[in-house]
């Protein structure tokens, strides 16, 4: 029975995604209310099934969790290769999955009105369903491969939702930037998965960390393997949670519609990296340099977000950096070994931030209402020490915050430009080589150019 419930928990959002996708593929005319109702019903079914598993588990105090093998994608024993759809309902995954369903249900209800008569209404809900499916897969994953499946779905839906308003260049360019960071993060996760597979012969979390259950489990790997695999996991988490030094994409991601910003960058997606670190916490226990690294990344992220967040001038960017500050603290807690504290912090922060982001579009109206109720202007004067600009240090810090820590510039100068320069040069060489080889004439100047006009005049 519980296996059927587990299938429902995981399968409901996947079914929603496939259903909406097929309807769009075959151009079936569906109206907004049908899509909205379908989404709500599916979320309710999934949440109900999850609670049906979680409540008895809580009563029986089975905190070490239950693992369900829902099928093998592929099993090649002779090649020692398998991909299993394995899910783990334990004290880490169940609260996070409940939060996912609750917040996604709230956001779906909000988006029904917020996106009403928007041209891409159906597209939004399709991507939203993809995100929900990916998030549920990643959170409940019992093996590294299943986590990777969900991780990729979350990444793609995020990038496409950032570029949701796709008739403008800004959102699209930012969507591509998010995708680039996510793909680097995906590559690190894939390598970590393969490394773990080769080191332990298994990708299941229960096999990797023993049967004691989270967070008391201990890694069954050598410290060196734990360090290298953990390092790749940290890189993956940095990309997904916008941890320093990969934080540059976060404010850019706010170009998407507010509901998607809320669910991705305030509530769920941004915590997925921290969740991954919690899931692999036995590896952190195994290698103290890795724990130190995690603490360092967390502290750096928190300081960065605190400095940059103070000088933001729009509410969504301000909230984005406030989220990042909290995520930095959560990561620090994980590195220091406070696993339950980090989990509770994550759940509380996600809920608060969702509320703040959903209220963000109407914040001016809220102020007007507040001032009408008070009968006077709200005292909004900032008294933050960070804004005292009299010292040179203060000015420099202000400039640093305004330029978002020069992170984007650093990546651009250090990585993007040399990369583009080198390969553009290779392209030019190839073109010349082909021209020489084929004895082709050099390419004609573009039509209507000044050069052509001068040639014609001669």
């Amino acid at each position: 029975m519980s296996e059927i419930l587990a299938i429902i928990v995981v399968g409901a959002p996947l079914g929603l995604f496939c259903g909406l996708g097929l309807m769009m593929l075959f151009s079936w005319a569906i109206n907004e209310s049908f899509t909205a109702h379908l989404t709500r019903i599916v979320i309710l079914i999934g949440l109900g099934a999850l609670l049906a598993i979680a409540v008895p588990q809580a009563f029986m105090q089975q905190w070490s969790g239950q693992t369900y093998l829902l099928g093998e994608i592929i099993d090649l024993p002779e090649s020692h290769f398998h991909l299993r759809l394995e899910f783990m309902f334990d004290s880490l995954s169940v609260p996070m999955a409940i939060l996912t369903y609750l917040l996604c249900g709230t956001i779906a209800a909000f988006a029904t009105h917020y996106m009403h008569r928007e041209v891409g209404f159906q597209r939004f809900f399709l991507l939203f369903a993809m995100f929900l499916a990916g998030m549920v897969l990643a959170v409940l994953a019992g093996s590294i491969e299943t986590l990777f499946l969900g991780w990729e779905l979350v990444g793609l839906s995020s990038a496409l939702l950032v570029a949701f308003f796709h008739q403008r260049v800004g959102p699209v360019a930012n969507g591509l930037r998010v995708w680039i960071v996510y793909r680097c993060s995906d590559a690190a996760l894939l390598l970590a998965a393969v490394l773990l597979h080769h080191a332990a012969g298994e990708g299941e979390f229960s096999q990797l960390s023993g049967r004691a259950g989270w967070p008391h489990s201990a890694a069954l790997l050598s410290p060196s393997i734990a360090f290298w695999a953990g390092l790749l996991f940290v890189i993956a988490a940095c990309g997904k949670s916008a941890l320093w030094p990969l934080s540059g994409w976060l404010p850019r991601a706010m170009e998407g519609p507010t509901p998607s910003s809320a669910v991705f960058y305030g509530a769920l997606s941004i915590h997925l990296g921290a969740f991954l670190l919690l899931r692999i916490s036995p590896l952190l226990d195994q290698s103290w340099p890795l724990s130190l690294l995690v603490v360092g990344v967390g502290v750096a992220t928190a300081i960065y977000a605190a400095v940059v967040g103070r000088v933001q001038t729009d509410v969504k960017s301000g909230l984005a950096f406030a989220s990042l500050l909290q995520v930095g603290l959560i990561v620090t807690e994980i590195g220091l070994g406070f696993r339950y504290l980090a989990l509770v912090h994550m759940l509380g922060h996600a809920s608060l931030r969702t509320l703040q982001l959903l209220r963000a579009p109407s914040i001016l109206r809220d102020y007007v209402d507040l001032e009408n109720a008070l009968g006077k202007q709200v005292n909004n004067r900032l008294s933050s020490p960070g804004l005292r600009l009299r010292s040179t240090f203060g000015v420099r810090l202000y400039r640093l915050g305004l330029e978002r820590g020069y992170l984007d510039v650093a990546w651009e100068i250090g990585v993007a430009r040399p990369f583009a320069k080198f390969f553009l040069g290779c392209g030019r060489l190839e073109t010349r080589w082909l021209q020489w080889l084929g004895n082709d004439p050099p390419p004609s100047p573009p039509t209507g150019s000044a050069t052509q006009l001068m040639e014609e005049t001669k």
Binding site: S79, H80, F81, E145, H166, L191, F419, F423, E430
Partner: protein, 556 residues
């Protein structure tokens, strides 16, 4: 060798050929297209029947019972094995889809009879495993792009140079290896030439420029038809694998890896869509080749699975871009085009095929790519890492094209540019194939592993000189590489010696026990321990063990 009760192979080859002859006097392009569609449709049915029948026979090889070519040449020419059985159907499907997706405005510029003839020759190549016909047919196949270039009055010099290098190296190398003893320098020269020929046809660096030139100058459809069959890796498996020594396989794998990384990075900085597509094509062709050249069962199986999966995605991607190009002209990525609102279906198909190409979850390429990374990583962790980086770069290039072509601005037009029903049918079929294929990865991958096992057996037989098509054996029998335990060929009951074959069926060499995970990769060309070295190491270990035993007895 098993026999097909109905000559499916002959039908698959003869139908396009016959239709091509029928089309010669026909001047009406619409009628020509319809005849072409009918011929390719029937040919697809024949190849699917051949595949189904072959799976039912559970044989290693099969040929037609009523084979006209066998009567003519005294031996079966059209033979399929586990490796080539699905490739025929796939190639016909590609041809059919290219014709279906050809718009009416472009029909008058296409020579359908030439496409059909090219299709026939490709089918012939894919349905033979004998070196001499392969060499001749791969030479004939080079004629069609040349003819098309001439017809379009485009420069042919680069193409001719590339074709000449490829064919001379391939046939010269094979010829030298056949006539000279294994110990002579001529044999070594032959190996180098054969390797060069295979590298040229696989478009590995620096020969990749040939394909870029071809995509620039040829029509998109013709270029797609010429390249989609991946004849380079096919020749590498048929001619290279049984005959080339380990060092040559290592070079090929290394160059393929370099090409994959280089071309995927180049795809990111291009502004011409055709060029980006060409680089993506090169990158994925190279990824397949890396898998095939690992020399392990899992690696070759992964390469073959990726071959089927990602080539469907690649053709889908090419067709989508071709359909977009036929509406808006040559596409540029220098600015945002914003075509989504006019052609949302094509945008969706582009995204699905592009993601399938990079092995995104839920598509046919996912499991194959995972298996490929796993097997290459177990052979050489650096190579595995490079593979992942190359795929990540490709996926960034795929989404970059999507954003540049379909979004970012508002494109205004005075006429409807919606996709036609035939395009929608092709789109739906491809999406169903790409997504549906991911639902049955077990059977699909197992069948490719069987094919890999057969190819490994062919390699052993080729190096021992006991192949059905032997050149001088590269290794003495004692030094032949042993197959990993899991790659031992399973001789079927109905496996009888090939008519006219001087040798018995492939012998099964001694197996090596797998003591630990990844031990089978020790014989891999990517591995630092080559088979010859490994045998030497094993001999050293054995002699040391004997010495220890003797000392132990003396002590007692």
């Amino acid at each position: 060798m098993s026999e097909f009760p109905i000559p499916w192979l002959l039908l698959a080859v003869a139908l396009p050929g016959g239709a091509a002859l029928l089309l010669l006097p026909i001047k009406n392009p619409t009628l020509a297209k319809q005849i072409c569609l009918a011929a390719l449709g029937l040919s697809l049915v024949a190849t699917l029947a051949e595949w189904w029948e072959f799976s039912r026979l559970q044989a290693d090889e099969a040929h037609d019972r009523w084979d006209v070519l066998a009567w003519t040449f005294g031996r079966p020419i059209l033979v399929v094995d586990r490796f080539s059985a699905p490739l025929l159907a796939l190639n016909t499907l590609y041809g059919l889809l290219v014709v279906v997706a050809t718009m009416r405005t472009k029909v008058s510029r296409v020579s359908f009879s030439q496409w059909l003839l090219a299709q026939m020759v490709t089918q012939l190549i894919l349905s033979t495993d004998q070196p001499e016909p392969l060499l001749v047919l791969s030479g004939v196949n080079l004629f069609f792009p040349w003819y098309e270039l001439k017809r379009r009055r485009r420069p042919v010099r680069v193409y001719c140079l590339h074709a000449l290098v490829f064919w001379l190296c391939l046939s010269g190398g094979y010829g030298l290896m056949s006539i000279s003893p294994a110990t002579s320098w001529l044999h070594g020269l032959g190996q180098v030439a054969l390797l060069g020929g295979i590298m040229a046809r696989c478009w590995t660096f620096p020969f990749h420029c040939g394909l870029i030139d071809l995509f620039d100058k040829l029509g998109f459809g013709s270029a797609l038809l010429f390249s989609s069959a991946l004849l380079g890796p096919y020749l590498a498996m048929r001619l290279g694998m049984p005959n080339l020594p380990d060092w040559a396989m290592q070079v090929l794998a290394g160059m393929a890896l370099l090409t994959a990384l280089y071309t995927s990075a180049m795809a990111l900085v291009q502004v011409d869509v055709r060029r980006v597509f060409c680089y993506l094509f090169l990158s994925h062709g190279s990824l397949i080749l890396v898998g095939l050249e690992t020399g392990t069962l899992a690696g070759i199986g992964a390469g073959l699975s990726l071959w089927l999966g990602s080539s469907i995605a690649m053709v889908g991607l090419g067709l989508t871009l071709r359909s977009v190009e036929s509406r808006f002209g040559r596409l540029s990525l220098a600015t945002y085009q914003g075509y989504y609102e006019h052609i949302p279906h094509l945008a969706g198909l582009y995204l699905v095929t592009g993601l399938a190409l990079v092995g995104f979850p839920g598509t046919i390429g996912f499991v194959s790519f995972e298996l490929l990374v796993d097997s290459v990583f177990s052979t050489n962790p650096v190579a595995g890492t490079v593979l992942v980086v190359a795929a990540a770069l490709s996926s960034i290039a795929v989404l970059r094209i999507y954003f540049r072509l379909f979004t970012g601005s508002h494109h205004q037009t005075t006429i409807s540019l919606r996709s036609r029903w035939s395009e929608r049918a092709a789109i739906t079929l491809l999406i169903l194939l790409l997504v549906g294929g991911s639902l049955v990865p077990q059977a699909f991958t197992e069948s490719r592993l069987e094919a890999a096992r057969q190819l490994l057996a062919n390699r052993t037989a080729g190096l021992l000189g006991t192949s059905r098509h032997p050149v001088s054996p590269t290794l003495p029998a004692a030094a032949a590489p042993s197959l990993p335990e899991d790659s031992a060929p399973q001789a079927p009951v109905d496996h009888v010696p090939h008519p006219g074959s001087p040798h018995a069926p492939v012998p099964v060499p001694a197996t090596v026990p797998r003591t630990q995970r990844g031990s089978s990769s020790a014989s891999s060309p990517l591995s630092p321990l080559s088979p010859a070295n490994r045998i030497q190491a094993e001999a050293t270990v054995a002699s040391r063990a004997a010495e220890v035993c003797v000392k132990f007895q003396e002590l007692q």
